[in-house]
């Protein structure tokens, strides 16, 4: 499927990441957005509010983030593609509904333009402190997909991709932007609608009697219907059977939660996305994501100028984590350096996958601005000491 041309502003634009994210959502076919104002994400919904009356969309500013994060799910069961947009404090309020979306397999997109926390923190300044929250923030066991763009262009491209993944796997997808990427103005090229690939959820249109809302084939992804189609579906956040009916048994819980985990795990190779540069033959690999991938570049160049063999792996999809690739690299390199605008989150995943096979060095930062390249350079040099 290709994008509906009505929503696509084909051409070159000079816009910030927040606005590019709005355009990506529209191109992806998102026609329902619920949001609540919060810096630094508000520009996303402001642009949506501006554009939606002309593309057949409905935007509603809800009374809070809790309401926004479930209004979108009502809209999805009404047949729309939907998203909500927020930043740290609002993201915290949305956690319960990320769990609901995971449990009810409601495809939807949550955009978090990260700012420095905890609590109100530094509302107008960048951080990448919500990375673990995106993965683990709601109670219980479940899987989500999280994507981290590093430029306004990627805010467009990857928002389209976020919708596509969420529709394909019926899972909430997090767009983990940050204040820098959200407010950075760069050239963004929007292709023509026929060049934008758009995926839609699998729809069941078989006989009503035999429809079982959460029955799956080998792909572990159930087909969806919408309210009003006559299937008389039941959707609940309780543990449920294949019909969607509550089932309070240990076996139903085991079966459902296992499938919710497995449906992402078995497709992980298709979902995982990273970009590598000069990784083959490197002694050190810098693993970065989002804005930090850009501050890492001068540090890497300076290290190379000093004769060090440094590669760069940028995580584009952070969750699911590229376990295989990091394991493989850990067996080949001397060290992995992980700069991130938090006090050390993704470094835990890297350490887990490296499993002691190479040095892993964290370059933490509490947020508020970006790293100084010299700090990343120092970490690169330090990581080789004693190897």
């Amino acid at each position: 499927m290709h994008a509906d041309p009505i929503g696509v502003l084909t051409g070159a634009h000079f816009i910030d990441g927040d606005h590019a994210c709005s355009e990506g959502a529209i191109a992806a076919g998102c026609r329902f957005v619920a949001g609540y104002p919060i810096t630094p994400s508000t520009e996303v919904v402001e642009r949506i509010a501006e554009r939606f009356p002309f593309v057949g969309g409905v935007f509603i500013q809800m009374e809070d983030e809790i309401a926004s994060s479930i209004a979108i799910q009502g809209a999805v069961w009404g047949g729309k593609k939907a998203m909500t947009v927020t930043s740290g404090p609002g993201f915290s309020l949305m956690m319960e509904h990320i769990g609901l979306a995971a449990m009810t397999e409601t495809p939807c997109v949550f955009v978090d333009v990260q700012r420095a926390g905890p609590s109100t923190g530094l509302p107008t300044m960048p951080a990448q402190g919500d990375m673990m929250q995106a993965r683990w923030g709601s109670h219980g066991d479940y899987q989500i997909i999280a994507i981290v763009p590093n430029s306004p262009q990627e805010c467009f491209d990857l928002t389209v991709h976020a919708f596509n993944l969420s529709e394909r796997y019926r899972v909430p997808v997090m767009m983990m932007m940050d204040e820098c990427v959200g407010h950075m103005i760069e050239r963004v090229v929007i292709p023509s609608a026929d060049k934008i690939e758009v995926h839609n959820r699998k729809v069941y249109d078989g006989p009503k009697e035999s429809y079982r809302a959460f029955e799956t084939g080998r792909d572990l992804i159930p087909s969806m219907v919408k309210a009003g189609d006559g299937y008389r579906i039941h959707v609940t956040g309780l543990t449920h059977d294949e019909k969607g009916y509550p089932d309070m048994s240990v076996s139903a819980q085991g079966k459902l939660v296992q499938r919710l985990m497995d449906k992402i795990r078995i497709h992980a190779d298709d979902i995982v996305m990273y970009k590598e540069e000069d990784v083959e033959g490197a002694d050190v690999v810098v693993v970065s994501f989002g804005i930090t991938s850009r501050t890492a570049i001068p540090a890497i160049e300076q290290a190379r100028a000093k004769g060090l063999k440094v590669g760069h792996l940028r995580l584009v999809v952070v969750w699911p984590f590229p376990e295989k690739r990091i394991r493989e690299l850990a067996g080949k390199v001397k060290s992995i350096v992980v700069p991130e605008l938090n006090m050390g989150q993704i470094v835990y995943e890297v350490e887990r996958c490296a499993a002691g096979k190479c040095n892993v060095v964290s370059v933490p930062h509490a947020g508020g601005t970006v790293h100084q390249p010299k700090d990343i350079l120092a970490a690169i040099e330090k990581s080789l000491r004693g190897t």
């Binding site: 057949g56 009404g78 009916y245």
Partner: protein, 300 residues
């Protein structure tokens, strides 16, 4: 027995409400004497005569004893999170405005944790029918105090008696902009059925509060007898006052209960207001969603 109770035919082979229920989920979880089932019966009877296409009716519940209603209705039904039935229903309605969206939930769910959503949906005149079962207690979690627990009543979290003022829900709903507001008890099955039918037919935010006995947790702890005793209490202490000033309908512990239809007025729904606004502002440039376009054509 008053004539109004003789509505149910006794000679038919199966219960006529069965087709409205997910019979494969019976028996339900409600206690003997609980009033929720009675209200479901009235809801079904209202649906039966409403002329609505049942494939286009969706029920959304939150969490709690009443929150289980969605799971028993043989309709598109959504059992959401605690307090959030209204915002879910809001999204559902805006995405698919051809649906009649009914929110069916309890007093704690809709007015404590969900209170913010309740007032804003009423303010927006979101096209929802909200049926609120008020048993003056949190049932599912074991009888804790709710915003509706009367002063003087005892709950597990007010073991020495409740001293917090309660919500007067019809007044709250009216002040926030609901276009239809009624209150009945589980005893008033005929009136209640009629009221739900009117609420379903109403465009905009319609609200029906139903007092229903919770014999297991509210009545027992407050030494009010069983479900039947509570129904008798409703019968003997209710006063029908249609059009009553909602300010005057506060509920006291075992005091007089004012029931009736208090508000029935018109104002544009959220979708109507949005459509009119954009049409006026942008003319042909305005592109409503396919569903909203179809609906407004059908209404023209």
């Amino acid at each position: 027995m008053p004539e109004e109770l003789y509505d149910i035919e006794t000679t038919i082979p199966s219960n006529p409400i069965e087709e409205f229920l997910r019979m494969d989920r019976m028996p339900h979880i409600w206690c003997p004497g609980c009033g929720i089932g009675t209200t479901v019966n009235c809801f079904v009877r209202a649906l039966q005569t409403s002329g609505l296409d049942l494939d286009k009716v969706a029920v959304v519940s939150g969490i709690g004893c009443t929150g289980r209603v969605a799971g028993y209705m043989n309709l598109d039904s959504f059992h959401t999170t605690h307090g959030r039935a209204i915002p879910f229903a809001t999204g559902l309605k805006l995405a698919n405005p051809g649906l009649k969206v009914v929110v069916y939930s309890g007093d704690g769910d809709l007015t404590a944790i969900g209170g913010n959503h309740f007032i804003h949906a009423a303010r927006r005149n979101m096209d929802l029918t909200v049926i609120l079962i008020n048993n003056m207690i949190y049932g599912m979690t074991g009888g804790q105090a709710a915003p509706t627990t009367p002063v003087g009543a005892t709950a597990s979290t007010t073991p020495h008696g409740n001293f917090e003022e309660t919500f007067n829900l019809p007044f709250l709903a009216e002040s926030c902009g609901a276009v239809y507001v009624a209150r009945w008890t589980a005893h008033h099955v005929r009136h209640l059925t009629k009221s739900i039918k009117e609420a379903l037919a109403k465009k905009g935010f319609s609200f029906v509060e139903i007092l229903a006995p919770c014999p297991t947790l509210y009545s027992r702890r407050n030494k009010l007898g069983d479900g039947l005793d509570q129904m008798e209490f409703y019968r003997d202490n209710s006063e029908i006052k249609n059009g009553a000033d909602t300010k005057s309908v506060t509920l006291d512990f075992q005091g007089k209960i004012t029931v009736g239809k208090f508000v029935d007025k018109e104002r544009p729904t959220y979708i109507e207001a949005m459509n009119q606004h954009y049409q006026k502002k942008f003319g042909d440039r305005y592109v409503p969603s396919d569903e909203i376009r179809k609906l407004s054509h059908a209404q023209e």
